[in-house]
Symmetry: C2
Subunit: 232 residues, 2 copies
DNA sequence: CCAAAGCAAGAGCACTGCTCTCGTGCGCGT
DNA sequence: ACGCGCACGAGAGCAGTGCTCTTGCTTTGG
């Protein structure tokens, strides 16, 4: 008994991981649309029906890959933040995290498409995905909160009804964040992924050539919009 | 001879349109992944092989739908611009166009996903899609150009290499647009679709409730970022 | 030590995209 | 106006898919 859990459970975990690995390979090679349970099983030397002992359906396999992808990009963001020097400015932290997310997306376009492209399984994201999906957002929130705990430049005040929304959002996610910053932050969050998606999905083809410089500059402007840049 | 083209060609055009209509229906109902040539043919009372006389492959059908979707959203944008009063400010025009695009996207989520979600056919967008795909961009460009022909507020100057990129972009698309405005415009363009995609794809679930007010406010900030808002 | 539970394997169903062949009827050019 | 040709629809068929069910074997825990 050299294992804390039974050998059975361990074998199951290993096979499950092998399936996900092979699925990820096929995903990276041909995209989500062409991911085939039978092909995965074939490549693993097992028969297709055996695979259903591990994933009840193709969508469940995809959901597992989605969760892993959210975790991977979330980890990339957290790591980028952790590697910042203690004296780094909020804007510098913000830009570094944005660049890390972009780098991950460009390195794993199909996995990125899985999570930030069209929702492929039947329309409603499974509940299991919401926690990993929020990791990047939490990183951005923490940067903004640190910045505005010191002194930040408040973004333009939104209209009253939106400001109330901002208070609700702040109450939910970051108690001590000014409401106006909260709504600016959510907007910047969505806009960040707009920039990344357009680049990853080829919309910048023949439009933007200096992609890295362009993105960095845009990310810095986003930091400004959230009020992370101190006036000179 | 009541038709300029032969009856044969006309019948062909009608069947082609019927196929696209039915395909669009199934697209709206079940999404692109479940769009099936055989089901379309079945619904139209023909056998599946007959459909291949009109579209050489499933991807070709999807491409046709993509082109139509680009045209539809482009037309929505152009119409929104055309309906602006002559004395409307550039910022008001910008916001109106943004709202029109958003409205179209929310009304046709699956078609929107087809063009601004993950690229589903084999990775490279067919050449035929690039012209219709640029219609929304052209509308935004025209607004920015009109604004800066008068006097606009220049966006922050990007670094030198990006400024050169801006000059190239301006030369390609809008000869008389300041380079800094060009790069801000492209960024705002991508960010606009980031906002819309996040809402359409459910990323704002339990995050943003006042979606319309939120979007309008974000679009106005985008107008500011492009330099469309005059100082008070 | 044996029953129970987990597992792989195979056959099979309904469906998909796509190809090929084969008549037939309609539109077109003469 | 007529007949030829070709575009078209129909059908069978292939390879592949997701998923289910039954059948045995192996492992595990009481």
């Amino acid at each position: 008994m050299n294992t804390v859990q039974g050998a059975r459970a361990r074998a199951r975990a290993e096979v499950t991981a092998a399936i996900k690995d092979e699925a990820r390979r096929q995903l990276a090679a041909d995209g989500a649309a062409k991911l085939s349970l039978r092909a995965v099983a074939r490549e693993l030397g097992m028969v297709s029906s055996a695979l259903y002992r591990y994933f009840p359906s193709r969508d469940d396999l995809l959901t597992a890959l989605i969760v892993d992808a959210y975790d991977a990009v979330g980890e990339a963001a957290e790591e980028a933040l952790a590697q910042q020097r203690p004296d780094a400015s909020p804007a510098a932290r913000w830009t570094a995290v944005c660049r890390a997310v972009r780098t991950w997306a460009l390195a794993h376009p199909h996995e990125y498409a899985l999570i930030y492209g069209s929702p492929v399984p039947g329309y409603t994201a499974p509940e299991a995905t919401v926690v990993p999906a929020s990791r990047v957002g939490l990183v951005l929130i923490s940067i903004a909160r640190d910045a505005h705990l010191g002194k930040g430049v408040a973004p333009p005040k939104p209209p009253a009804r939106l400001l109330a929304e901002g208070e609700r959002m702040a109450a939910d996610f970051a108690p001590d964040l000014p409401p106006a910053v909260a709504v600016a932050l959510v907007a910047a969050w969505a806009q960040l992924f707009g920039l990344i998606s357009f680049e990853a999905f080829g919309q910048f083809h023949r439009v933007v050539e200096e992609r890295e410089a362009f993105f960095t500059h845009a990310a810095e402007q986003l930091a400004r919009a959230v009020g992370l840049v101190l006036p000179a």
